[in-house]
């Protein structure tokens, strides 16, 4: 479904600030794979996400989605294949537009925009049904401006908007990190539910090791721009946070040093 072939990215090449963000990343996702990515700050997780989504171009290597080489495709064209949820709950929605207008925009991710109305009667019914699956009562607030929603509600809406059009690949970039524990749990549960419901091929970056261990069928640990550990299937199911930490120390011979690595 998603293939990354020999992806390398260097920032500020040839200057004193040169930083190798990604080194020969090789990764292949099967349809329905749910991969969680962990790693300390600067490990290259965000760069990887940005390269897949097309915000950044790799220096070398290829991004292949569904057998199609999309490496040189622009961010907005590539968005036809990719659903994204950002860390900032404000980033995924348009605050001065209503819930139904936001959903209409998301609806057009895969369909070319024309001069027909964005919100039709038929679509409104569809939006209502889809919103009801969140169980937040948003289906009764279709005309409310999204800016009036709480952070948790906005992130739930962002998640729904990124997924209800069934993207080939779903990218979740620390999408629960900016929420309080209760809201984060809500979004985590919704993520699980939605990914299972639509059988989405998903790549999720997280700093929460517990979450990384619980969710998904594969886990990847990154450090210094490389994939240093990978677990899938039965091995992934048996993983614990302690085992992960030990693994990291064994490979790198150093403490898993990150101010943001939440241990529980």
């Amino acid at each position: 479904m998603l293939q990354l072939k020999q992806i390398t990215k260097v920032f500020n090449e040839g200057t004193l600030d040169e930083k190798v963000a990604l080194k020969h990343i090789e990764l292949s996702l099967q349809p329905g794979d749910f991969v969680t990515i962990i790693g300390s700050n600067g490990a290259g997780k965000s760069t990887l996400m940005n390269i897949i989504s097309g915000r950044l171009a790799p220096d070398t290597g290829e991004v292949v989605i569904d057998g199609k080489n999309v490496t040189t495709m622009s961010e907005h064209d590539r968005a036809r294949y990719i659903g994204r949820v950002f860390q900032d709950p404000m980033a995924g929605t348009a605050p001065n537009m209503t819930i139904e207008e936001n959903l209409a925009i998301a609806y057009n991710r895969t369909v070319r925009r024309t001069l027909q109305f964005g919100v039709t009667k038929k679509r409104r019914e569809f939006f209502k049904e889809t919103l009801a699956t969140l169980q937040l009562g948003l289906e009764n607030r279709l005309h409310a401006k999204v800016g009036l929603l709480s952070g948790g509600e906005r992130q739930a809406l962002s998640l729904l908007m990124a997924t209800f059009t069934k993207p080939h690949v779903l990218l979740l970039d620390e999408h629960t990190a900016a929420l309080d524990p209760a809201r984060a749990q809500l979004i985590t549960n919704l993520t699980k539910q939605i990914v299972e419901q639509y059988r989405l091929t998903t790549l999720m970056v997280t700093h929460n090791m517990e979450q990384a261990v619980q969710l998904g069928n594969r886990l990847i640990m990154m450090d210094g721009g490389q994939i240093i550990f990978e677990a899938s299937g039965e091995e992934k199911k048996k993983l614990t946070v302690e085992a992960l930490l030990q693994e990291f120390q064994r490979i790198r011979g150093s403490q898993f040093a990150s101010d943001r690595a939440v241990l529980v």
């Binding site: 622009s74 929605t93 348009a94 207008e101 209409a104 057009n108 001069l115 964005g118």
Partner: protein, 324 residues
């Protein structure tokens, strides 16, 4: 006095088209577009030159609309493809248009007084009703038909804008001004949308310029100076007076704002010690007032609300003490 008010409503209606254009760039796209000062004259120049050349004035006005669209697209290209800051793109285009407008007109001023224009066509077409109307409303000026035409035209443009902003493309356009990152993640080509939006905005501005030239009987190279401020004044006054909760409401507010602005200027110029040259200063003052006063009113209302709340709390605790 009544005639003066009448003509300020007439002009206000024609300027309202320009204000709607500014609304699209300034509010919908969140792009402070200074191209307006140039594209307004471009519209006037294109229409005047064509009319003098014998082209039907309605077609000439539509050609002006097209020219404005191109000017707006050019600003959009400078910003999106040239990666130039929005203000600077507008300023560059404005200054470039000054020379282009001179080239179009071939001289700084093109008189239209002897020509058949949209305005003369409309006033003659409705002339036969003059007599009938005059029996009901004795003080009605000869140009009443222009107001009817203006109201019709502005209403049509307003409704088309309202509907357009609800289409799929329109929603995407609004999202560009609201959250660029979001619309890009939903396959919106932000560059193309910005270019189209600025094109539409300046098309309206140029169309307004074409009509104003025909209304006042000339086009002049300097007629666009400060136009952006007048547009902003209309938008800001309109929103302050009439609200901007929804798009439908906001576009109506902008139109009314343009008319109110004209009326205020007309009234201000009737004051003894003010001169015609003071118009720009008055405009600046009006915009400042329209920006500052609503804020002050809001903070004061908030303070009073809080004071009341505190008062009520104190009263209830006192009541508690007394009951004990």
């Amino acid at each position: 006095m009544i005639t003066a008010l009448f003509s300020s409503v007439e002009a206000g209606l024609l300027y309202a088209l320009m204000a709607l254009g500014v609304y699209i760039s300034f509010r919908i796209l969140d792009f402070p577009d200074l191209t307006v000062d140039g594209s307004f004259v471009t519209g006037a120049a294109v229409a005047s030159v064509l009319i003098v050349g014998g082209v039907n004035p309605f077609i000439a006005s539509l050609a002006a609309l097209g020219a404005g669209f191109l000017a707006g697209c050019a600003t959009g290209l400078l910003h999106t493809k040239g990666k130039i800051n929005p203000l600077l793109s507008g300023i560059l285009m404005m200054i470039a248009l000054y020379s282009i407008n001179l080239r179009i007109m071939d001289k700084p001023n093109v008189p239209l007084l002897q020509q058949e224009t949209v305005m003369t066509i409309i006033t003659t077409a409705f002339q036969r009703f003059d007599q009938a109307l005059a029996t009901f409303i004795p003080f009605i000026p000869k140009t009443w038909a222009i107001i009817v035409f203006g109201v019709l035209l502005v209403t049509i443009v307003k409704v088309v804008i309202d509907l357009f902003l609800k289409t799929e493309v329109g929603l995407a356009l609004r999202a560009v001004g609201d959250n660029k990152k979001m619309i890009a993640s939903f396959s919106g080509n932000t560059d193309r949308l910005t270019i189209i939006g600025l094109g539409l905005s300046n098309a309206l501005v140029a169309f307004s310029g074409a009509l104003i030239a025909q209304y006042s009987g000339f086009s002049d190279i300097g007629m666009g100076i400060g136009m952006i401020v007048i547009g902003l004044a209309s938008v800001i006054i309109g929103e302050a007076l009439f609200g901007a909760k929804t798009i439908v409401r906001a576009t109506l507010a902008v139109i009314l704002g343009a008319i109110v602005y004209r009326i205020v200027i007309t009234l201000a110029l009737r004051v003894q010690f003010l001169e015609t040259g003071d118009v720009k200063l008055i405009t600046a003052l009006i915009v400042i007032l329209a920006l500052v006063v609503p804020q002050m009113v809001a903070t004061r209302a908030e303070k009073q609300r809080k004071a009341r709340k505190r008062g009520a709390a104190v009263a209830s605790t006192q009541a508690d003490y007394e009951s004990v």
